[in-house]
Protein backbone atom coordinates (compact mmCIF):
# COMPACT_ATOMS: atom_id res chain seq x y z
CA UNK A 1 0.00 0.00 0.00
CA UNK A 2 2.85 2.34 0.70
CA UNK A 3 4.80 1.32 -2.35
CA UNK A 4 4.35 4.61 -4.12
CA UNK A 5 5.17 6.81 -1.19
CA UNK A 6 6.98 9.77 -2.67
CA UNK A 7 9.64 11.68 -0.83
CA UNK A 8 8.73 13.99 1.98
CA UNK A 9 7.16 17.25 1.15
CA UNK A 10 6.23 16.35 -2.37
CA UNK A 11 3.11 14.29 -2.11
CA UNK A 12 1.44 14.32 -5.48
CA UNK A 13 -2.15 15.21 -6.02
CA UNK A 14 -2.87 11.80 -7.47
CA UNK A 15 -1.94 9.99 -4.31
CA UNK A 16 -4.09 12.23 -2.25
CA UNK A 17 -6.99 11.74 -4.60
CA UNK A 18 -6.49 8.02 -4.49
CA UNK A 19 -6.54 7.98 -0.73
CA UNK A 20 -9.59 10.17 -0.66
CA UNK A 21 -11.48 7.93 -3.03
CA UNK A 22 -10.56 4.96 -0.88
CA UNK A 23 -11.94 6.77 2.10
CA UNK A 24 -15.05 7.59 0.18
CA UNK A 25 -15.64 3.93 -0.57
CA UNK A 26 -15.57 3.16 3.13
CA UNK A 27 -18.33 5.52 4.06
CA UNK A 28 -21.89 4.22 4.15
CA UNK A 29 -23.50 4.06 0.75
CA UNK A 30 -26.00 6.79 1.47
CA UNK A 31 -23.35 9.41 1.10
CA UNK A 32 -21.99 8.22 -2.19
CA UNK A 33 -23.27 10.09 -5.19
CA UNK A 34 -22.90 8.69 -8.65
CA UNK A 35 -23.33 11.99 -10.37
CA UNK A 36 -20.32 13.89 -9.16
CA UNK A 37 -17.14 12.19 -10.20
CA UNK A 38 -15.21 13.93 -7.50
CA UNK A 39 -17.09 14.95 -4.43
CA UNK A 40 -15.67 18.00 -2.78
CA UNK A 41 -12.89 17.08 -0.42
CA UNK A 42 -14.23 19.22 2.33
CA UNK A 43 -17.60 17.57 2.19
CA UNK A 44 -16.00 14.16 2.22
CA UNK A 45 -13.93 14.98 5.25
CA UNK A 46 -16.95 16.35 7.00
CA UNK A 47 -18.88 13.16 6.32
CA UNK A 48 -15.97 11.09 7.54
CA UNK A 49 -15.89 13.09 10.74
CA UNK A 50 -19.56 12.63 11.37
CA UNK A 51 -19.34 8.94 10.53
CA UNK A 52 -16.52 8.43 13.01
CA UNK A 53 -18.48 10.34 15.62
CA UNK A 54 -21.54 8.21 15.04
CA UNK A 55 -19.41 5.06 15.33
CA UNK A 56 -18.06 6.32 18.64
CA UNK A 57 -21.57 6.91 19.84
CA UNK A 58 -22.56 3.41 18.80
CA UNK A 59 -19.65 1.94 20.71
CA UNK A 60 -20.73 3.85 23.79
CA UNK A 61 -24.31 2.78 23.42
CA UNK A 62 -23.41 -0.87 22.81
CA UNK A 63 -21.08 -0.97 25.76
CA UNK A 64 -23.86 0.45 27.87
CA UNK A 65 -26.21 -2.31 26.76
CA UNK A 66 -23.53 -4.90 27.24
CA UNK A 67 -22.94 -3.80 30.78
CA UNK A 68 -26.66 -4.06 31.48
CA UNK A 69 -26.82 -7.49 29.94
CA UNK A 70 -23.77 -8.76 31.71
CA UNK A 71 -25.26 -8.11 35.09
CA UNK A 72 -28.20 -10.35 34.28
CA UNK A 73 -26.23 -12.92 32.37
CA UNK A 74 -26.81 -16.53 33.03
CA UNK A 75 -23.45 -18.19 33.18
CA UNK A 76 -24.71 -21.55 32.05
CA UNK A 77 -26.53 -20.41 28.97
CA UNK A 78 -25.41 -21.76 25.59
CA UNK A 79 -24.21 -18.29 24.67
CA UNK A 80 -21.73 -18.27 27.51
CA UNK A 81 -20.69 -21.77 26.56
CA UNK A 82 -19.88 -20.65 23.03
CA UNK A 83 -17.86 -17.76 24.32
CA UNK A 84 -15.95 -20.00 26.64
CA UNK A 85 -15.15 -22.35 23.78
CA UNK A 86 -13.92 -19.45 21.68
CA UNK A 87 -11.65 -18.33 24.47
CA UNK A 88 -10.29 -21.77 24.93
CA UNK A 89 -9.41 -22.39 21.27
Amino acid sequence: MSSRRSSRGNISEDEINELISKLQSLLPASSRRRGSGQASTTKLLKETCSYIKSLHREVDDLSDRLSDLMSTMDHNSPGAEIIRSILRS
Partner: protein
Protein backbone atom coordinates in the same frame (compact mmCIF):
# COMPACT_ATOMS: atom_id res chain seq x y z
CA UNK B 1 -0.40 -42.79 -8.80
CA UNK B 2 0.40 -39.18 -8.27
CA UNK B 3 -2.70 -38.61 -6.30
CA UNK B 4 -1.13 -36.08 -4.08
CA UNK B 5 -3.38 -34.93 -1.38
CA UNK B 6 -2.84 -31.85 0.61
CA UNK B 7 -4.06 -31.64 4.15
CA UNK B 8 -7.69 -32.63 4.41
CA UNK B 9 -10.03 -29.69 4.45
CA UNK B 10 -11.22 -28.64 7.88
CA UNK B 11 -14.59 -30.03 8.89
CA UNK B 12 -17.49 -27.71 8.17
CA UNK B 13 -18.67 -25.71 11.15
CA UNK B 14 -21.45 -27.44 13.05
CA UNK B 15 -24.77 -25.79 12.32
CA UNK B 16 -25.53 -23.51 15.20
CA UNK B 17 -28.87 -22.07 16.09
CA UNK B 18 -27.10 -18.88 16.98
CA UNK B 19 -25.79 -17.20 13.84
CA UNK B 20 -23.15 -15.16 15.60
CA UNK B 21 -20.87 -18.06 16.14
CA UNK B 22 -20.75 -18.69 12.44
CA UNK B 23 -20.19 -15.03 11.78
CA UNK B 24 -17.38 -14.92 14.29
CA UNK B 25 -15.68 -18.04 13.00
CA UNK B 26 -16.02 -17.27 9.33
CA UNK B 27 -15.03 -13.67 9.65
CA UNK B 28 -11.39 -14.55 10.18
CA UNK B 29 -9.19 -12.84 7.67
CA UNK B 30 -12.01 -11.23 5.74
CA UNK B 31 -11.29 -7.69 6.89
CA UNK B 32 -7.93 -6.09 7.37
CA UNK B 33 -8.15 -6.23 11.18
CA UNK B 34 -8.71 -9.93 11.70
CA UNK B 35 -12.16 -10.34 13.18
CA UNK B 36 -11.07 -13.39 15.09
CA UNK B 37 -8.33 -11.46 16.88
CA UNK B 38 -10.76 -8.69 17.65
CA UNK B 39 -13.25 -11.14 19.13
CA UNK B 40 -10.55 -12.89 21.12
CA UNK B 41 -9.15 -9.77 22.73
CA UNK B 42 -12.52 -8.25 23.46
CA UNK B 43 -14.02 -11.40 24.92
CA UNK B 44 -11.00 -11.95 27.10
CA UNK B 45 -11.30 -8.42 28.44
CA UNK B 46 -15.01 -8.95 29.01
CA UNK B 47 -14.50 -12.12 30.97
CA UNK B 48 -12.02 -10.32 33.16
CA UNK B 49 -14.54 -7.60 33.83
CA UNK B 50 -17.41 -9.72 34.98
CA UNK B 51 -15.58 -10.93 38.05
CA UNK B 52 -13.93 -7.75 39.22
CA UNK B 53 -15.57 -4.41 38.65
CA UNK B 54 -18.43 -2.76 40.49
CA UNK B 55 -21.52 -2.11 38.45
CA UNK B 56 -21.29 1.66 38.48
CA UNK B 57 -18.30 2.14 36.21
CA UNK B 58 -18.80 -1.00 34.20
CA UNK B 59 -19.91 0.86 31.10
CA UNK B 60 -16.78 2.93 31.09
CA UNK B 61 -14.66 -0.15 31.60
CA UNK B 62 -16.32 -1.97 28.76
CA UNK B 63 -15.85 0.98 26.45
CA UNK B 64 -12.21 1.23 27.38
CA UNK B 65 -11.83 -2.52 26.86
CA UNK B 66 -13.38 -2.15 23.42
CA UNK B 67 -10.90 0.48 22.28
CA UNK B 68 -8.03 -1.33 23.91
CA UNK B 69 -8.80 -4.65 22.23
CA UNK B 70 -9.27 -2.80 18.95
CA UNK B 71 -5.81 -1.33 19.26
CA UNK B 72 -4.40 -4.70 20.20
CA UNK B 73 -5.99 -6.55 17.32
CA UNK B 74 -4.85 -4.02 14.74
CA UNK B 75 -1.37 -4.25 13.35
CA UNK B 76 1.13 -2.32 15.49
CA UNK B 77 2.37 -0.74 12.30
CA UNK B 78 -0.60 1.54 12.45
CA UNK B 79 0.16 4.68 14.31
CA UNK B 80 -3.41 5.07 15.58
CA UNK B 81 -3.23 1.77 17.42
CA UNK B 82 0.03 2.79 19.02
CA UNK B 83 -1.44 6.13 20.03
CA UNK B 84 -4.44 4.37 21.57
CA UNK B 85 -2.25 2.05 23.60
CA UNK B 86 -0.17 4.99 24.72
CA UNK B 87 -3.34 6.73 25.80
CA UNK B 88 -4.39 3.76 27.90
CA UNK B 89 -1.02 3.60 29.57
CA UNK B 90 -1.06 7.31 30.32
CA UNK B 91 -4.53 7.10 31.74
CA UNK B 92 -3.55 4.25 34.00
CA UNK B 93 -0.58 6.18 35.32
CA UNK B 94 -2.80 9.20 35.77
CA UNK B 95 -5.35 7.27 37.73
CA UNK B 96 -2.79 5.77 40.09
CA UNK B 97 -1.17 9.14 40.60
CA UNK B 98 -4.48 10.80 41.20
CA UNK B 99 -5.41 8.12 43.70
CA UNK B 100 -2.24 8.82 45.63
CA UNK B 101 -2.86 12.57 45.54
CA UNK B 102 -6.44 12.22 46.70
CA UNK B 103 -5.38 10.09 49.58
CA UNK B 104 -2.90 12.72 50.70
CA UNK B 105 -5.27 15.65 50.42
CA UNK B 106 -7.82 14.60 52.94
CA UNK B 107 -9.13 18.02 53.87
CA UNK B 108 -9.16 20.10 50.71
CA UNK B 109 -11.66 18.88 48.15
CA UNK B 110 -9.48 19.68 45.18
CA UNK B 111 -8.89 16.76 42.84
CA UNK B 112 -5.95 17.06 40.51
CA UNK B 113 -7.07 19.14 37.54
CA UNK B 114 -7.19 17.06 34.40
CA UNK B 115 -5.35 19.70 32.41
CA UNK B 116 -2.44 19.74 34.76
CA UNK B 117 -2.19 16.01 34.53
CA UNK B 118 -2.42 15.99 30.77
CA UNK B 119 0.51 18.34 30.44
CA UNK B 120 2.71 15.67 31.96
CA UNK B 121 2.62 13.70 28.76
CA UNK B 122 3.39 16.67 26.59
CA UNK B 123 3.47 15.79 22.97
CA UNK B 124 1.53 12.60 23.50
CA UNK B 125 -1.85 14.17 23.76
CA UNK B 126 -3.98 12.50 21.22
CA UNK B 127 -7.63 13.40 21.29
CA UNK B 128 -7.33 16.30 23.70
CA UNK B 129 -7.02 19.78 22.22
CA UNK B 130 -3.41 20.33 21.31
CA UNK B 131 -1.51 22.35 23.85
CA UNK B 132 1.73 22.50 21.86
CA UNK B 133 2.36 23.73 18.36
CA UNK B 134 -0.42 23.24 15.83
CA UNK B 135 0.09 20.34 13.44
CA UNK B 136 2.08 21.08 10.31
CA UNK B 137 -0.27 22.32 7.65
CA UNK B 138 0.49 20.88 4.24
CA UNK B 139 -0.20 22.56 0.97
CA UNK B 140 -3.70 21.83 -0.23
CA UNK B 141 -4.84 20.43 3.06
CA UNK B 142 -8.36 21.62 3.73
CA UNK B 143 -9.35 23.17 7.00
CA UNK B 144 -11.59 20.23 7.81
CA UNK B 145 -8.55 18.05 8.38
CA UNK B 146 -8.11 19.57 11.83
CA UNK B 147 -11.39 18.12 13.02
CA UNK B 148 -10.35 14.77 11.61
CA UNK B 149 -7.04 14.96 13.39
CA UNK B 150 -8.84 15.44 16.65
CA UNK B 151 -11.05 12.42 16.07
CA UNK B 152 -8.47 9.88 15.00
CA UNK B 153 -6.10 8.94 17.82
CA UNK B 154 -2.59 10.10 17.17
CA UNK B 155 -3.76 12.32 14.37
CA UNK B 156 -2.27 15.49 15.73
CA UNK B 157 1.23 14.74 14.54
CA UNK B 158 0.71 13.05 11.22
CA UNK B 159 1.14 14.36 7.75
CA UNK B 160 -1.94 14.79 5.68
CA UNK B 161 -1.22 11.74 3.53
CA UNK B 162 -0.75 9.39 6.44
CA UNK B 163 -3.74 10.91 8.15
CA UNK B 164 -5.96 9.73 5.32
CA UNK B 165 -4.55 6.23 5.44
CA UNK B 166 -4.88 6.00 9.18
CA UNK B 167 -8.41 7.27 9.01
CA UNK B 168 -9.39 4.59 6.53
CA UNK B 169 -7.91 1.87 8.69
CA UNK B 170 -9.43 3.33 11.82
CA UNK B 171 -12.88 3.43 10.24
CA UNK B 172 -12.57 -0.17 9.11
CA UNK B 173 -11.53 -1.28 12.56
CA UNK B 174 -14.24 0.73 14.28
CA UNK B 175 -16.86 -0.81 12.05
CA UNK B 176 -15.62 -4.31 12.82
CA UNK B 177 -15.68 -3.54 16.51
CA UNK B 178 -19.23 -2.23 16.31
CA UNK B 179 -20.33 -5.33 14.43
CA UNK B 180 -18.70 -7.54 17.01
CA UNK B 181 -20.35 -5.77 19.92
CA UNK B 182 -23.69 -5.77 18.17
CA UNK B 183 -23.38 -9.50 17.64
CA UNK B 184 -22.58 -10.01 21.31
CA UNK B 185 -25.55 -7.96 22.39
CA UNK B 186 -27.80 -9.96 20.11
CA UNK B 187 -26.33 -13.17 21.42
CA UNK B 188 -26.90 -12.23 25.02
CA UNK B 189 -30.27 -10.68 24.65
CA UNK B 190 -31.54 -13.70 22.78
CA UNK B 191 -31.11 -15.99 25.77
Amino acid sequence: MAAKRTAPPPPPPTPNPIPNRRALASGAGSASPSKRMLAFHFLRALSRISSATPVACRTRTIRRAAYFSMARAASPRRSWSRALLRQVRVRRAVRSRRAVLMRRRVVSAAPAPPLGVRSISAGQITSAPLAGAPPPRQAGEPARADALRRLVPGGGEMEYCSLLEETADYVRCLRAQVQLMQGLVDLFSGQ
